[in-house]
Amino acid sequence: MASIPYIPEYQVRETYLNARYSIASWLLTKDHKRIAVLYILSITLFFIIGGSAAVIMRLQLLTPHSSLVEAETYNKLFTLHGIVMVFFFLVPSIPATLGNFLVPLMIGARDLAFPKLNLASWYLFILGGSLALTALILGGVDTGWTFYTPYSSTFSNTNVIFAICGVFIAGFSSIFTGLNFIVTIHKMRCPGMTWFRLPLFIWSMYATSIIFVLATPVLAITLALVALERILGVGIFDPNLGGDPILFQHLFWFYSHPAVYIMILPGMGVISELIPAYSRKRPFGYAFIAMASLAIAILGFLVWAHHMFVAGISIYGGLVFSILSFLVAIPSGVKVFNWTATLYKGSIALDTPMLYALGFIGLFTIGGLTGLFLATLGIDMHVHDTYFVIAHFHYIMVGGAVMAYMGGLHFWWPKITGKLYPERWGRLAAVILFIGFNLTFFPQFILGYLGMPRRYYAYAPEFQVYNVMSTAGATILALGYVLPLIYLLGSLRWGKDAGSNPFKAAGLEWQTTSPPPPDNFDQTPIAGEPYNYHEMDFANV
């Protein structure tokens, strides 16, 4: 910020983008920022593939008994949609992209603790993704993303083993990313960066990493057992051969419920950055938001059997897991209240990222509150495995995680690329997404309560009206995703150059140039209080 008047810095300055140009310099990079860009490109590809499957499914469900696709094809489509979206888009979405880019920047480090491991994570992700995609597209897999036994282990005649291998390998990618973040956050903080000065995004990444490291191996071993069962023809989970299918569900949900928090906690972290930045205020109840992240990560491990209330577990088990599931709602509520309170007496600018953030709060609130319905034993025994569940988790996953990802991507786009996105287009897309999303998924709550089961390619005619609304909404939603894809790519070519801190936000990442130099900071920064909006001179940022 010292006045060095006349050198047009951005033209000569070395950034992580222009340091080298060869393809090898990208594919062999150890720079966390370049790896983040690689991840952004790869998960966008996976999102498009998973989204296309969703489009076909919504078209199929436009009429009660459409002949667009066969039953088997439909089953393969929702499996593809589930596996790709969960394991290859949502799980890595924010941590591997924004997390990878921002964790070192926000704590004032030059890179993650283990850059080679970081690159290896990306290669594992790509290897796992290619395997799974090959299996899902050539021939297909029809088990659903949950791989429930004994259907997946004995009865399905599709490429289950390949898909499992893909997910298994991608799991190790997550584990190594989590390991890298934990060590980096513990050991690489710059001078002055104490634990309670960490940006809230870092707290949420830390909580997410705990889940990565402690939950993912259980999924890996469980899927390995399913593969073993298929290969050897022995009954680990097949009751006809002595196994127990409910054991699979226990092991699977021990990972897959915390995995839900892998998807939403980073989103909460992004929102905890966006709201202060666009209100120019310190987050209300900083410590409570930070501790709520940890509480969610830990309590999230204690609630897995709420996916199994009607699966044949004991009634006592149901009661225990129900009450624990309600407890995990409390820290989520605390976050929502604190975000809302942060707005009070702020200086609120409704720019694109803020629109996404406020949309997130609304949709996450609906998603979270409908989660209470599912945790309530007496209601779950009616709506379990219906569209109510589908609507609930899409409100959390798409309304929550994806909205946050979009918001974060816009907010840090100038930092990542050095270019500004077009603000008007951004706001338009955010509004379209919000409308399309609600039209797509809100009718599904009603469908679910009426009893329409999930994973049906044909349904009773009385459900049609809500399905038509849902499909119409999906069309709008798709437009809402295509728009940003176009204008963000366009901004690379035509976007205005962003200065170091175009949004006048606090945080170490805004103190370095955009895009940052290969080593992030020209000299190691010294951290003060986070969110120091009271000290900022907005006229001269």
Binding site: A71, Y151, K281, L377, G378, R454, Y533
Partner: protein, 346 residues
């Protein structure tokens, strides 16, 4: 009712209203929270909109009192939800003793229903109005789920294990029966119709199929065929009056415990005689796991239950009807074509 925009499925069982009341309570709580939060966000976003680019708002870092408030109030509300939900759920898992029983076997992709009086049906379930009905479920292959939205109930149907659900039909008519657990290619076609009829109609319907053998009678044949009666009552515990009563068990260390002889206990004792030994009787019984089919097993259990005496009455012990057939091999007569209610198969 004719509007396409229905919000609630029909309330066709006594517990439907209980579940709906619980749901309405949750909706009320959720909507109040949503209104508060949404109103606050919109109000703040308008009231405190940025008026100049260099504006610096006052800083507020938090309030312990508020944090405690919005931790405690939701906590209390969720505990009410838990308690109420648990009450409904526990009630839905404790059928009354006089509930009539119907066996259902799920297989890819149909529901086979077996009434105790002998009538069998596929993808249809006839039940009488106003009587508690307990459905005992098992699967021949993968996991299915027996769901009747109008009754607000569902339960996974597992291979190798019995699960149950019960209800009291309270409205005449036909209602959807769905498989809610993904079970393979034609999961969406594993559907059927629940027909609630008056008790008189139900009796007439039951009597309609004269060739059917009641399971208790079929079970008696199996029981005699395998010579069960040569031991039980002499070297082995008597089975008369066993069902529903506590059984005193002993383990290898001489510790006693008591279980109720329900269907699961009977099933387990036939399949794994050694797992739960009755005090005073060393085990002499072989396992019948690979001998009996699921249907024969159901028949034998029904026969043992018919020996209970008081609760069950005459028709079960009457002379066998029709020719002596092995119940499991007799293909049930298909009353209604599968998937009749909204889609014909192929």
């Amino acid at each position: 009712m004719d509007s396409p925009f229905k919000l609630f499925p029909p309330q066709a069982a006594e517990q439907s209203a209980q579940v709906d009341h619980l749901t309405l309570f949750l909706i009320a709580v959720s909507v109040s929270f949503m209104l508060v939060i949404f109103a606050a966000i919109i109000y703040f976003a308008v009231k405190y909109r940025r008026r100049s680019d260099n504006e610096r708002p006052p800083q507020i870092s938090g309030s312990i009192a508020l944090e405690i408030t919005w931790t405690i109030i939701p906590l209390l509300l969720t505990m009410v939800m838990f308690a109420w939900g648990a009450k409904v759920f526990v009630a839905a898992h404790h059928p009354p003793d006089d509930a009539m029983e119907i066996f259902v076997i799920g297989k890819q992709w149909m529901w086979k229903v077996q009434h105790l009086e002998g009538r069998r049906e596929i993808n249809m379930l006839h039940v009488p109005l106003g009587r508690p009905v307990k459905v005992i479920l098992t699967s021949q292959d993968v996991i299915h789920d027996f769901a009747i939205p109008a009754f607000r109930i569902k339960q996974d149907v597992l291979p190798g294990m019995y699960t149950t659900e019960w209800f009291v039909p309270s409205q005449l008519g036909e209602f959807h029966l769905f498989c809610d657990q993904y079970c393979g290619a034609k999961h969406a076609e594993m559907i059927g119709t629940v027909v609630v009829c008056t008790p008189a109609e139900y009796e007439r319907w039951l009597a309609g199929d004269l060739s059917a053998v009641p399971p208790a009678i079929a079970g008696k044949k199996v029981f005699t065929l395998y010579g069960c009666n040569t031991c039980h009552g002499q070297y082995a515990p008597t089975l008369a009056g066993l069902y529903g009563r506590p059984v005193d068990l002993i383990d290898e260390h001489g510790n006693h415990r008591t279980v109720i002889a329900d269907e699961s206990y009977l099933r387990e004792s036939i399949l794994y005689p050694n797992l739960k030994l009755v005090t005073g009787y060393p085990n002499r019984m072989p396992s019948y796991k690979s001998t009996l089919s699921e249907e024969q097993l159901l028949d034998v259990i029904e026969y043992i239950k018919s020996l209970s005496g008081a609760a069950q009455t005459a028709p079960y012990l009457g002379p066998p009807l029709g020719p002596a057939t092995q119940p499991s091999n007799a293909e049930p007569k298909i009353e209604n074509p599968p998937f009749a209610n909204y889609r014909t198969n192929q």
